[in-house]
Amino acid sequence: MLRFLLRRLAVALPVLLGISLIVFLLVHLQPGDPFVEMVSPDATPEQKAELLRSYGYGDPIGIQYLRWLGKLATGELGNSVLQGRAVTALIGERLGNTALLAGSSLLLTLAVALPLGLFIGLRRNGWPDILVSVLSFALVSVPTFFLAMLLIKLFAIDLRWFPTGGVVTIGAGHEGWGHVRDVFAHLVLPSAVLALANIAILSRYLRSSVSELVDQDFIRALFARGVPLRRVVTPHLLRNAARPLVIIISLEIPALLSSALLTETVFNWPGVGRLSFEAVQGRDYPLLMGIVLFLAVTTLACNLLADLLQAVVDPRVRLVR
């Protein structure tokens, strides 16, 4: 297991360096010099040049990369141009909201997709199966932001069941349980939008793995011996079908963070995705690069996690090079 872990890390390290290299190049592509906000407007050109030199602006690009990497290693991502605060602090503030949204949509996905996938996997080609197939095709094909608008129009504007956006009702000043209820009401629509497409994918996936399993001898033998369905489902079917599920879920986290950008923008949800959109609109490049780097490293970490989980649930993986 330890050897497997070390081998995975050895593969991840060059990838991490590659990520940092790309982000660094993007930082360099940004128009204007990155220190422009640090110079007072009435400084002479000579003073500006002197300041830039003191930061090593004219150094060879390789030296600059190494210096940037060194700063990165100490967790420094620079300051936001618009807000003048540390990028790490800004991301940290918004991370909670994004985690709340991603987490609740993941829970919703599992709560619906697991029973649904199992059900249609056991009853292949019945009408529920066909209905779910058609629906999942539609859900995978609809742009998330359009789905978000449709839900807002229907449930927030016409039916008035849920608020149209934001995290809390502005000016309501709820406390305690009232606050929790308020946040929950705001959470329902965006997490449903994020969950729907995933439900479609996951339930289809589960359907195919369950329907493959049902045909296998050990399951048929169980049925032949007269073991009741519920004693087959949980210990045998679900356990075997859920094995790849662990990996899919850990790979789903970065995808959620990425697609949350559109959902957060439509729902005015102040998360990391919306922050990156605000950074683009305000041409706040240091903030933008910080977020991109953060998301890329998170993705890499999730991939590693997926590999490890796979090795835990399926020991054969450890032996494969």
Partner: protein, 331 residues
């Protein structure tokens, strides 16, 4: 290059027919030597697949409307009519008018051109990058493979929308930049697919035979490996067109893709960021949203039909006695 075991004599007769199992191009000459073409081959099966028929009909109608937009559209997409602002559908305008009195239906038709252009060009770019790198990694193996795969992993680590809006902010917003961005971010899946296909194919006997008679590596890659990977690549490319259409819509919706006044379905949808439009003027945002959905759905149907067509096991009487081959799973 490690040489596979020489068990040609035992397996060679089976492998002669290798080309008929994959790909329409390779299957056609082998399966139908007769002069009268019968609809029993791949195309015949496809035409009986409801997914294929529905997808093809919807898609051809939409593409035709987009291509012939200048002749079909009742108005010019940029024609401003300040006396007919935000008119609901009916009267002279089938789908009403927008905030400066432009005809929504005409803009919808012209917007389709952007989606078709971006979808097809972005996939062409992906094919160039993905197939080249995947072929390189899969054929060479070893260090080349390791380097290409690490590069692929690096690109895959960047969540699409986060990096796409960053690049759009750096490059500027235009149709060509959208194509470029989608192309350079989405090739990774193709590269991995082609690599995997090549890795399994290059150990097969017909490749070994080709190498043994002195076929050049380039010819092996193009004629033997690439041609036999044709099927999965076609399916993947089809589905990638749908992804491209969706990505263009999302970027344009955020104001980082196609800019006004040029109409695109994505930037037409961004009108609905105003609560007033969203609640009261459905004709401004529902039609482009439905258009995107229909087009993506049609392409996904085509992809599904193609993939189930390719995965079909050859109709052998003993098929069920053979160990069941794992169907190629789409990413």
């Amino acid at each position: 290059m490690n040489a596979p075991r020489l068990d040609l004599s035992a397996k060679f007769p089976v492998k002669v027919g290798h080309s008929s199992a994959t790909g329409t191009a390779a299957a056609a000459p082998a399966a139908v030597p007769a002069a009268t073409p019968k609809r029993t081959g791949t195309s015949g099966k496809l035409l009986r697949n409801p997914f294929f028929v529905i997808g093809a009909v919807i898609l051809s109608v939409m593409v035709a409307l987009a291509v012939f937009a200048p002749w079909v559209a009742p108005f010019s997409p940029d024609e401003i009519d300040l006396f007919a602002i935000e008119e609901p559908p009916g009267g002279g305008h089938w789908l009403g008018t927008d905030e400066v009195g432009r005809d929504v239906f005409s803009r919808l038709l012209f917007g389709g051109r952007v989606s078709v252009l971006v979808g097809v060009s972005a996939v062409a770019l992906q094919l160039v990058i993905g197939v080249a790198l995947g072929a390189l990694a899969g054929y060479c193996g070893g260090l080349v493979d390791a380097v290409v795969m690490r590069l692929t992993e690096v690109v895959m680590c960047f969540p699409f929308y986060a990096i796409a809006i960053t690049l759009a902010a750096l490059f500027g917003a235009s149709v060509w930049n959208v194509i470029l961005i989608i192309g350079i971010l989405h090739w990774t899946g193709l590269a991995r697919l082609v690599r995997a296909e090549f890795m399994s194919l290059r150990e097969r006997e017909f490749v070994l035979a080709a190498r043994a008679i002195g076929t050049s590596p380039l010819r092996i890659v193009l004629r033997h490996l690439l041609r036999n990977s044709y099927g999965p690549v076609l399916v993947y490319a089809t589905l990638a067109v749908a992804q491209g259409v969706l990505a263009e819509a999302a970027l344009s919706f955020l104001g980082l893709g196609v800019r006004q006044p040029q109409p695109s379905w994505g930037n037409m949808l961004s009108a609905a960021q105003s609560m007033r439009v969203l609640s009261d003027q459905w004709w401004l945002w529902m039609p482009p949203g439905i258009a995107i959905m229909l087009m993506v759905l049609a392409i996904n149907f085509l992809g599904e039909a193609l993939s189930s067509n390719l995965n079909r096991r050859p109709a052998r009487p003993v098929a069920d006695l053979w160990p069941r081959r794992r169907a190629h799973r789409q990413p």
